[in-house]
Point group: C2
Chain length 222, copies 2
Amino acid sequence: MVRQTPKSEETQARIFAAALQVFRERGFEAATMREIAASAHMAVGAAYYYFDSKDALVMAYYERAQNELSPLIDAQLAASRTLEQRLRNIIEQKLDYFEPDRKLVSALTAHIDPAHPLSPFSASTAPVRNSDIAFFKRAIDDSSMKLPKSIQPHLPRLLWLYQMGIFLFWVFDRSRNQERTQLLLAKTLSIVLLGLKLAQLPPLRPLFRPAGELLDTFFGEA
Amino acid sequence: MVRQTPKSEETQARIFAAALQVFRERGFEAATMREIAASAHMAVGAAYYYFDSKDALVMAYYERAQNELSPLIDAQLAASRTLEQRLRNIIEQKLDYFEPDRKLVSALTAHIDPAHPLSPFSASTAPVRNSDIAFFKRAIDDSSMKLPKSIQPHLPRLLWLYQMGIFLFWVFDRSRNQERTQLLLAKTLSIVLLGLKLAQLPPLRPLFRPAGELLDTFFGEA
């Protein structure tokens, strides 16, 4: 992406808006840079100057989503100190935010492969992912729920993975108003919370260290 | 698929073998029915008579894999009564079986959408999926591990999902000899087993019913 004068910023924003429109109407796979440029009333070469591929537009979409979601999630966190309520609010806020682009997002779920730049597990999406994981860290940190210190470092990534699972289910949920996702969210949340309450029982302690090591292996750390 | 005379069976097997060869060399997405027919030394129209699409060839691949894996997994189950060993054996057997086709399988992971016929969650793949879930039921049923009755009905599907997760990780694991998958398998298996041992503690009982309902919601049952 090019970021310079107010003029170029405006042009960039125009291409981005046109791209989202074309993705929504034609689907991500079918859309071409040529159509996007035409819809933004400019030459395709000029559009390429700002975004060198459809993927670059998607990356800009991820970044914008994260920036726009940030104050919304701040507000959700401020609204409750209950961990259950906070987790529900964060996840519902996100589903709500992505609702108009459910079709675009569903095309992107084909990129699970961490080697694909648009994968939620890739190096290129690390800044977006880390900022997303940080929401869960904040949800936990000053919540009213007491949690064993030894699970706290692992929990944000675990909750982030949980959220990704709900998100994936939602993307393909054809039930009316995604009622099945609502049900899944309610049921999984109560299990997650019950699990966290039970995590305070001493016999469960032996699970913490292997669970943490597991997450390190999964995320390719340590 | 057409199943008739020994002659037509032989032709069908020839196309199938050619297809696997082409998929391995050229990748699933790039391969065409025309190339597959050419590689089987026949006209493309004749190939279409036996398999009406690349997807039909993949479905035949899934079915063949399930049939060939069945006696191998029987042998693995007979080799040990320890649940941990059995789970490890089943999963390692599968990774071993699919190793030559890791690239083909990775192309197929793009189909998570249950509405896609080749998705592991689709209606068309239900027979393969159910036979696969049945392996886990048998692994549990006469194992040496005592499990609370109330979790037994849910466990085969849960372990199947766990296996799918390992499989997905393996498909994209670029470490040498997929060492990260080996590590992930070892760590997750010990957590699963520890979890199952802890499941015998009365305070964990409240988790069973919601976990079962959750699986019903996920699999679209009840």
